[in-house]
């Protein structure tokens, strides 16, 4: 009940009253008559955003594991390209990468008749494959770096114990190394996923209709500036809150035998990605 008591301190009550007054003022003084007309489009946009976030995070993570592995223990001919990939992805703006793929590849592909006649062409003419590609590579670049540290940080004794029990290298990796590594960086991964959420509106610039693009369309069609943007900010806050909740639940579930001090190294790393 300490949480409730902390909320009921007098200054917090006043802050909440001010906030409630602001919300009521927004509801009455601002224009919301466009909302019913655009609500279906907004729901669709929100769905696109979440879909993009989940798909690119999962694909990016699958790419990041070999990238981190190659950097942590790989021979130089694997670790050098992996490191170069991570440096390039992390060193250039995501917007530039998205435009490079969309405009660059998009203008290159039609020159080849083989591609134009292939089964994939109807997809390659749309914008979302390029958005997925760019966001996946970006997530993989940032997470590859995180996973390198995670793999290197797992106690060697654990791996040796697994080998001593006669586990094959693959089993050791699947049953011991990967779970321990992921568990240690779960807080960082949560922060990175929120950063990935904040990166999704960039794909609106290549005509993918996610929630940010919907709000720009409302702004362009009705000349209402602030209301869609406010609502958009609230939507992102809510999704970010859900991500935080999910990750803290995962963290609690896997924290039974966590080494003391393992969490301290990962706090404050949420600021690693634009």
């Amino acid at each position: 009940m300490t949480g409730l008591r902390a909320l009921l301190q007098p200054h917090r009550l006043i802050l909440m009253a001010v906030f409630a007054a602001f919300v009521i003022w927004c509801a009455y003084a601002l224009r919301w008559d466009w909302l019913p007309k655009y609500a279906p489009l907004a729901v669709e946009g929100l769905w696109t955003t979440i879909w993009l976030l989940v798909v690119t995070s999962v694909l990016g993570m699958l790419l990041a594991i070999p990238l981190g592995m190659a950097q942590a223990i790989g021979p130089w001919y694997l670790s050098a390209p992996a490191r170069a990939f991570c440096t390039i992805i992390r060193g250039t703006p995501l917007l530039l990468q998205i435009w490079l793929f969309y405009y660059g590849l998009g203008s290159l592909f039609p020159q080849f008749p083989e591609i134009r006649n292939s089964e994939l062409w109807p997809y390659l003419r749309q914008a979302w494959p390029y958005a997925v590609l760019a966001l996946t590579l970006s997530y993989a670049g940032y997470e590859g770096e995180v996973m390198r540290g995670a793999f290197a940080g797992v106690d060697k004794g654990q791996l040796e114990a697994g080998r001593a029990f006669g586990m094959s290298r693959v089993t050791v990796f699947r049953r011991i190394w990967l779970p321990l590594a992921v568990r240690n960086v779960l807080p960082t991964l949560g922060g990175e996923t929120i950063l990935q959420l904040k990166a999704t509106p960039l794909v609106a610039t290549i005509t993918v209709m996610e929630i940010y693009a919907v709000s720009s369309r409302v702004r362009a069609e009705t000349f209402i500036v602030y209301e869609p943007l406010l609502l958009l900010a609230v939507a992102y806050l809510l999704v970010a809150g859900v991500i935080t909740l999910l990750f803290s639940r995962w963290e609690r579930r896997g924290s039974g035998a966590r080494a003391p001090g393992a969490t301290t190294a990962t706090t404050g790393q949420a600021a690693t990605k634009p």
Partner: protein, 250 residues
């Protein structure tokens, strides 16, 4: 050199990137200059906001602490692009309303200044968290000792807290600087002529997308790698006289 250019068929690309008028090189460099201007300004403003914010979060009263918590949480959860749009429209709207109320004409907002303000506010939220963590990592006895000797708060800040926290703050601040340089690309969306927008204009008017986007990527990468080296020096300098962290840990 010429043979290499010939061999890779780069002659056309080089012509497009040349600095004299038929080429677009000077446009790209001007965009890079604008980007760097904004990044420097935003990073500096973010540091100032962050220093005050960190002190407010650590030593301020309950109201100030709650307000700062709201500021850092909201800024870090909402995409920079949305914040830039809100702050850009709201900021120029407010200034114009104020100008009209005082009887002046509507003013054109300078793109560089607006960009610095908007990105600086965003950077400030992250810098607050980085600096708060760094100040907390300073052994409290050092700050208490300075207080016990009667140092006034500002002198304490300048002589004890800031130098002692530098080594803890540099990695986070290096990250923030990289974010600042890359976030300048977002100003392309509000139509500000920084490197990314200049690149896109050059690319779409010449149809040489790969040439220009790769060239701009190389420019950004040069800035990133260069600042990595500089921050390495700063970190080494701020760690002078301290035992190596690496030996202490394992």
């Amino acid at each position: 050199m010429d043979a290499l250019v010939e061999f890779f068929g780069l002659a056309d690309s080089l012509k497009l990137l040349s600095l004299s008028p038929p080429g677009w090189g000077s446009n790209l460099l001007r965009g890079l200059l604008h980007s760097l201007q904004i990044a420097f300004g935003a990073f500096g403003l973010g540091l100032i906001i962050g220093l005050f914010g960190a002190c407010g979060k650590l030593y301020g009263g309950p109201v100030l602490r709650d307000l700062l918590a709201i500021y850092t949480t909201v800024i870090r959860a909402v995409p920079e692009l949305v914040l830039i749009l809100i702050l850009y429209y709201a900021g120029s709207d407010l200034i114009n309303k104020a100008a009209e109320a005082m009887g002046y004409d509507r003013v054109e907002i300078n793109g560089v200044i607006a960009g610095i303000w908007v990105l600086g506010l965003v950077q400030g939220a992250y810098a607050t968290e980085v600096l708060r963590g760094a100040i907390q990592a300073v052994p409290p006895g050092q700050i208490e000792a300075a207080r016990a000797f009667g140092m006034p708060p500002l002198l304490l800040m300048r002589r004890v807290t800031v130098p002692a926290m530098m080594s803890f703050a540099t990695p986070g601040l290096a990250n923030l600087w990289l974010i600042a340089t890359k976030d300048t690309a977002l100003l392309a969306i509000v139509g500000f002529n920084e490197l990314t927008l200049e690149t896109r204009q050059a690319a779409s008017s010449t149809r040489a997308y790969f040439t220009f986007f790769l060239a701009a990527g190389a420019l950004y990468l040069m800035v990133t790698l260069g600042s990595g080296v500089v921050f390495g020096w700063i970190e080494k300098w701020s760690r002078r006289g301290q035992p190596s962290l690496r030996e202490g840990r394992r």
